[in-house]
């Protein structure tokens, strides 16, 4: 299939995913899959930032808010009791179409809530609209207006979430039902479904990686990179720069919201900390740590670091660690630590194998022709 072309890295990812699971099983540490699955969902958010910041050059400090919009919308709609409904045709219609479903509530009574699939659609539509409202005014201008707009937006969302009783205020929403995806798959935190859910998350991440890789290596990807490199020239070449920046931003917001939806159904709950500005900073730090523009670097870094964080590896310094990462990367290795490290390793190898590298006559930087997306 065209769509999967040049798939060595993707195959590597798949193999690595399976090996990890098998090793954890053999070591009797399958419980680790829970945090790993959560880390995989977080990686989706960071991949969205990779597109909008790494490729289009627009900084967003509000991606935690989009994650929260996805998670909270889905959690609210699937747990809130909308019944008893009047019985006009539309209400029965909604029930028949399984948009509204009956389930037993905490006290053994029946409640009428929105089905997970319908909730996802609403969550994504809402994100689509909100991302346009934030992005449209900010991205028509040149400069870092998006960073400011999204920062303000993130603060507002996190205030709303904490201050709204229906959203559980500072406790968040718990008891979010599992999400039957179809094909016999269910997004759920049940222990018996732990392995299945790990592979669901892997599959979603892999699919996202394929789609983003395709996008980046296309007319659209070049337009975004051109905007990043030289916005004026990009516009003069016929690129509707405002529309492309907005497109990348909305797409990344949708990815964050989708991650939020999966995450919430997986963990069965969502709390206000997911909406906080510190989370947004963390996503940006992870994107920076992965090299911003490198899909694979970003994926690796965000899965590993989020996993460590979720396992409590950084203790009470959790947020400080990510802040420090951001500062260190920006001041020491703006392109991320992986690229210089890779070059350094390659250089070391080259020295061993061809003592006279200069004979190739390649000018400095020419060997840099390797694609940015590995």
């Amino acid at each position: 299939m065209r769509f999967l072309q040049c798939n060595t890295p993707f195959a590597t990812f798949a193999v690595l995913a399976v090996v990890t699971q098998l090793v954890l099983r053999a070591a009797g540490m399958e419980y680790c899959l829970t945090q790993l699955t959560m880390a995989l969902y977080y990686a989706l958010v960071v991949l969205g930032l990779c597109l909008v910041t790494g490729h289009a050059g627009q900084v967003s400090l509000g991606h935690a808010a989009f994650f929260a919009i996805g998670g909270y919308t889905s959690a609210f709609l699937t747990t809130h009791d909308f019944g008893p409904l009047p019985e006009p045709a539309w209400a029965t219609g909604l029930k028949q179409a399984r948009v509204l479903i009956e389930h037993s509530d905490l006290y053994g009574g029946t409640a009428l809530s929105v089905s997970p699939w319908a909730a996802v659609v609403v969550a994504l539509l809402l994100t689509f609209v909100v991302a346009h409202l934030i992005g449209y005014p900010a991205l028509r201008l040149k400069g870092h207006y998006l960073a400011m707009a999204t920062l303000g937006f993130g603060l507002i969302v996190s205030k709303i979430v904490v201050g709204t009783a229906q959203l559980g205020a500072s406790d968040g929403i718990t008891g979010v039902p599992e999400w039957p995806l179809g094909f016999g798959l269910t997004v759920s935190g049940r222990r018996t479904l732990r392995v299945e859910n790990y592979y669901i998350a892997c599959g979603l991440l892999l699919l996202t990686l394929v789609l983003l890789r395709n996008l980046i290596r296309s007319r659209v990807g070049r337009a975004l990179q051109a905007i990043h490199d030289r916005e004026t020239a990009a516009n003069a070449m016929g690129i509707n720069t405002a529309a492309y920046k907005l497109g990348a931003f909305v797409l990344s917001a949708l990815l964050a919201a989708l991650a939020g939806v999966f995450f919430t159904h997986y963990t069965g709950s969502i709390s206000p900390s997911e909406a906080g500005a510190l989370k947004s900073v963390r996503y940006l730090a992870l994107a920076a740590a992965g090299g911003m523009a490198s899909l694979w670097g970003v994926t690796a870094m965000s899965v590993i670091l989020n996993y460590l964080s979720l396992r409590g590896f950084f203790g009470s310094y959790d947020n400080a660690v990510f802040g420090a990462i951001l500062i260190l990367i920006i001041s020491l290795a703006p392109e991320g630590p992986l690229k210089p490290l890779g070059q350094w390793l390659r250089h070391g190898l080259n020295r061993n194998h061809h003592p006279r590298d200069e004979t190739t006559g390649a000018p400095p930087g020419a060997s840099d022709g390797a694609p940015r997306i590995h």
Binding site: F3, R219, T232, N235, N240, T241
Partner: protein, 270 residues
């Protein structure tokens, strides 16, 4: 009917009037030269024609359509392309990718079709690549195709920028000092390239400080001085225009040899 009409255009920056009462027309198929000392307003005029700046007064029409107020990308789609005085390549992209960006307005793959690699998108992508090569090769850039634009020498950057502009298949091409920073050989090549571009039916508006080159290429020249045109006509007339000579030689009318022999050169601080 004029191809490009600039009508009574004015633009200032703060208190500084960069252009005032500028009117001229360009006919289809022509090479129009635009000359004038540093700060005369040539680049400002280019920026207005290509939509990067809006005139405060006046109008610009392209093929009888008013283009003042349009965004640069809309003007580019109408068939006007340009190069920049300081080459503005996309430095983190390769030479080939830079030229492929030139094909942007001739292609249409969307976010959706690109991420799914739908058959139409794959075909279009191949076409974009082929067309980019077709524009690289005549400018001698094929060997550089995979080099990052950031690693190129100045003269090469100018050529890549030209290829990128040509890849949009413009009807009107604006070149802002294409010869500056080039050596004698590169200038001679450029002369040939510009002739070929004109022969292919593209109309050119050429800002250039190299008098030999403009006088050789242009059918017609506008001389700007302090933001206003002071002379307009074929090269032979311009070279002997007393106003022009005055401006270029700094106002010493006595004992000036004919400008044709002087070659109207002046040094420009950078």
């Amino acid at each position: 009917m004029a191809f490009l009409e600039v009508e009574n255009v004015r633009r200032s920056f703060g208190g500084l009037v960069a252009l005032d009462r500028v009117s001229f027309t360009v006919c289809r198929g022509q090479i129009k030269g635009l000359i004038g000392p540093n700060g005369a307003g040539k680049t400002t005029l280019f920026n207005m024609v290509s939509g990067l700046l809006a005139p405060e007064v006046g109008q610009i029409r392209f093929k009888d359509r008013t283009i003042t107020g349009l965004k640069p990308f809309q003007i580019a789609r109408l068939g006007i392309s340009r190069t920049f005085q300081n080459p503005s390549l996309f430095l983190r992209m390769t030479v080939l990718e830079n030229v492929m960006v030139g094909r942007h307005l001739r292609s249409r793959a969307s976010f959706l079709s690109s991420s799914l690699r739908l058959p139409g998108q794959v075909r279009e992508e191949q076409h974009i690549r082929a067309e980019a090569w077709r524009h690289l090769e005549p400018l001698g850039l094929a060997a550089l195709a995979d080099r990052p634009a950031g690693s190129l020498a100045f003269g090469q950057r100018r050529m890549v920028e030209l290829a990128r502009a040509l890849a949009t298949e413009p009807e009107l091409l604006l070149l802002d000092e294409p010869a500056s920073g080039l050596n004698t050989r590169e200038k001679a090549d450029l002369n040939q390239v510009i002739r070929r571009i004109r022969a292919s039916g593209v109309t050119l508006l050429l800002v250039e400080h190299d008098m030999a080159l403009v006088m050789d290429l242009a059918d017609d020249i506008v001389v700007l001085h302090n933001g206003t045109p002071i002379a307009h006509g074929p090269p032979a007339t311009i070279q002997n225009d007393p106003n022009v000579i005055q401006v270029y030689l700094g106002g010493e009318p006595d004992g000036i040899p004919p400008a044709g022999e002087l070659n109207l050169k002046w040094t420009r601080p950078r």
